[in-house]
């Protein structure tokens, strides 16, 4: 609690204690009034003061004014009726202040909570000077400087590791709890925590442009982009308070006048004025106005903790209405790297075949050769290979351990007159022949990410109706991938411009309320990311263009995060709607009961403070997204 809040708490306690003490005091008449005035002024002097200033500035309908009028009115009625019941007015003020205190505490608490979640801001960078380490402000480190990151420290600035190897904890950035290995030559992004070894890093960016600064900037500014729900509430609050005030005025004067003039009954001024004052207590829009932005703030905070950066409350809202998800294939659903995906029709062991192929291809740096060498996994002993002959567009011939090895495509086999077996799988096929006889083939293709299939299924359970894949790849590959993943539609052989066109066609064919999300890896698809209702870039750490173009950034490249993001947004929006309906509903019911004389001020203050507390607690729920 800060100083202001502590002071308020003390005022509340003193006033409450006095109020209880006074209820046992047997004083009457004017003495009683004066005594009761003490706790009233202790708890309410600032409200009365603000109300007065409000009147001076012609800002009539603020909550201070309402509370002041309601409580002063209630005291006046008690004086007029000579009932001596001042407790009600003081209690209303007391509860109002308790509500304000709670609100201020809860908001402060969630502010801190969320900044703790995003506690990735590094405070310093270690620069080596004359053999000694010196801590400097990361802002002052220039590009190309060498910084030292000790175990347990945060990496302050993006760079490349010059020396050392270590394990990095990236959970604050990606929400991924498995540590990542890093060694000399690797790129390293700021915000990771160095866990084991000492690292020397050459910076490649300024602090302000580094990943950590960009993320913080993004998250902190996210709640400035307001959602439609928030704007609705602002507009509602602007109309609601004056409307209730005028209703209160009407309630105070019309029924008594009608009774007096129209029906010839006693006017009962005090009863109607009391009901009108009850109205004023209910008219404060606090619960609504605080709980909606708080829900979004908590939702965005929770999402960023799970590795999903949402760039604005409005995007969280749109995301929750997503019914169509359009994927890019390469790098999004597949890993975008070529890997050995199968070895068929071989007489010898798989490892042996790979070994022959890897050795034969050892001189080549072609991506296909590299993926075979990678599959082999061991150091290549070049001395075992002689007479390498590369036949452009066909493959290679080489002598490995004295055996004549041929590795290449169909054309190579035809050229050598060796009978080969075609493959049912899609991808690049490398046939291998040893000493003139066919030894089998290796299938190399872009592989699906491990969670892609599950991710598509999860999207369906999250309420997405249609999944579509766009790719520049050939039709056979595209259809095989789409079939395997269970996607609803696939469009292949598209140029980047065609992808925009396809997305536009999909946008045109869907109802306005169902939103379309495009998921890409940010490479070549920035225009599509911008065109879709909501653009999701994944694994985009470091790709500035993608962070710029996308509305939602997934910090790692796990497609499961897409459904997670949608579920987080749904939960957040559910809470927002609950709060809107609950707060408005309770207030309207209380207004009705108040007008009929069933609800007194005690109920009115519950409608105000109680609803606010419940709505705030509900809003904070949006922060918890772990188990979605």
């Amino acid at each position: 609690m800060n100083k202001k809040q502590k002071k308020m708490l003390i005022r509340i306690l003193i006033s409450a204690a006095l109020l209880i003490a006074l209820s046992f005091a047997p004083v009457t008449g004017i003495a009683r009034f004066v005594l009761y005035l003490v706790p009233y002024l202790i708890i309410g002097y600032d409200i009365l003061l603000k109300a007065f200033k409000g009147i001076k500035n012609r800002q009539m309908f603020d909550e201070n004014f309402l509370m002041a009028v309601a409580t002063v009115g209630a005291i006046a009625i008690a004086l007029y009726e000579q009932s001596g019941d001042y407790t009600e007015a003081i209690a209303v003020m007391l509860f109002y202040q308790i509500g304000e205190l709670f609100q201020s505490y809860a908001v402060g608490k969630s502010r801190r909570n969320i900044s703790e979640l995003m506690d990735i801001r590094p405070d310093y960078a270690n620069v080596e000077q004359d053999g000694k380490l010196e801590k400097v402000d990361p802002d002052e480190v220039e590009i190309g400087s060498v910084i030292v990151v000790q175990p347990g420290e945060k990496v302050p600035i993006d760079g490349v590791i010059l020396e050392g190897s270590s394990t990095l904890n990236t959970s604050a950035l990606t929400g991924e709890s498995i540590p990542r290995e890093a060694a000399a030559g690797d790129e390293i992004i700021s915000g990771c925590i160095n866990m084991t070894g000492l690292l020397k890093v050459k910076t490649t960016k300024e602090f302000g442009e580094s990943t950590v600064s960009r993320i913080l900037d993004l998250v902190e500014n996210a709640s400035s982009r307001k959602s439609r729900s928030e704007e609705f509430i602002s507009r509602f609050a602007r109309i609601y308070t004056p409307a209730v005030c005028y209703a209160a005025l009407a309630l105070a004067f019309l029924p008594p006048l009608v009774r007096m003039i129209g029906m010839g009954l006693a006017a009962d001024w005090d009863i109607w004025i009391y009901r009108a004052l009850t109205f004023l207590v209910i008219s404060c829009p606090c619960a609504l106005v605080i709980s909606i932005p708080l829900s979004f703030f908590a939702g965005i905070g929770g999402a960023s903790n799970a590795g999903v950066l949402v760039k604005g409350s409005n995007y969280l809202e749109t995301l929750s209405q997503t019914k169509i998800v359009v994927f890019d294939k390469t790098g999004t659903l597949t890993r975008g790297v070529f890997e050995v995906n199968g070895i068929h029709h071989n007489e010898m062991e798989d490892e042996k075949l790979i070994e022959y192929a890897a050795l034969a291809e050892s001189a080549s740096s072609h991506p296909i050769s590299r993926s075979i060498q990678k599959a082999y996994g061991k150091e290549i002993d070049r001395s075992r290979v002689t007479d390498i002959r590369e036949i452009s567009g066909n493959g290679v011939l080489a002598k490995v351990d004295g055996h004549e090895v041929a590795a290449g495509n169909d054309k190579l086999m035809e050229r050598l007159g060796i009978e080969y077996i075609g493959c049912h799988l899609v991808g690049t096929i490398i046939h291998v022949a040893v000493d003139g006889t066919y030894a089998g083939h290796i299938v190399i293709s872009d592989v699906l990410k491990p969670h892609s299939k599950e991710a598509v299924r999860e999207l369906k359970t999250a309420g997405v109706q249609k999944t579509v894949m766009l790719t520049g790849d050939i039709r056979r590959v595209a259809e095989q991938v789409a079939g395997e993943l269970g996607l609803d539609a696939v469009y292949s052989e598209l140029l980047p411009a065609d992808k925009v066109e396809k997305v536009e066609a999909l946008l045109a064919s869907k109802p306005e309320k169902e939103k379309l999300a495009f998921v890409g890896d940010g490479i070549n698809d920035a225009p599509v990311l911008g065109r879709a209702d909501i653009g999701i870039a994944m694994g985009a750490m470091g790709s500035d263009a993608a962070i710029e173009a996308a509305d939602v950034v997934l910090m790692d490249d796990d497609p499961m995060k897409i459904s997670k993001a949608i579920k987080i947004s749904r939960k957040c929006l559910r809470i927002v709607y609950q709060n809107i309906v609950f707060a408005i509903g309770v207030k309207l019911i209380c207004l009705l009961l108040g007008a009929l004389g069933i609800a007194n001020m005690w109920l009115a203050i519950f409608a105000d403070v109680g609803v606010m507390i419940i709505a705030v607690l509900n809003a904070i729920r949006a922060l918890f997204v772990k188990n979605l």
């Binding site: 603000k50 200033k53 409000g54 500035n57 800002q59 603020d62 909550e63 304000e100 609100q103 201020s104 908001v107 969630s110 502010r111 902190e220 500014n221 709640s223 400035s224 307001k226 602002s234 609050a237 602007r238 829009p285 606090c286 106005v289 605080i290 932005p293 708080l294 703030f297």
Partner: protein
């Protein structure tokens, strides 16, 4: 031109009122108040000096919410 200012205000509705007051100030093209981060983001009209505009913004905000603060 866009600038961000730190603010201090107690309640969310007051923040909304500050936003409205800032938007109604001459020289302000668009203003957003972020109550959760306690920030005010102001986009200024061409040809206005932010410093003088912000003084008016603060004055107008004080009218609607007496104890608010904008750290200029």
């Amino acid at each position: 031109m866009k600038k961000t200012y730190k603010i201090d205000v107690d309640c969310a509705n007051c923040a909304n009122k500050m936003e409205e007051a800032a938007n109604n100030t001459a020289g302000v093209k668009h203003a957003t108040v972020n109550f959760m981060m306690l920030k005010m983001i102001v986009e200024f009209e061409e040809g206005y000096e932010p410093k003088t505009v912000m003084k008016d913004v603060l004055k107008n905000c004080r009218k609607v919410e007496d104890d608010c603060e904008i750290f200029l």
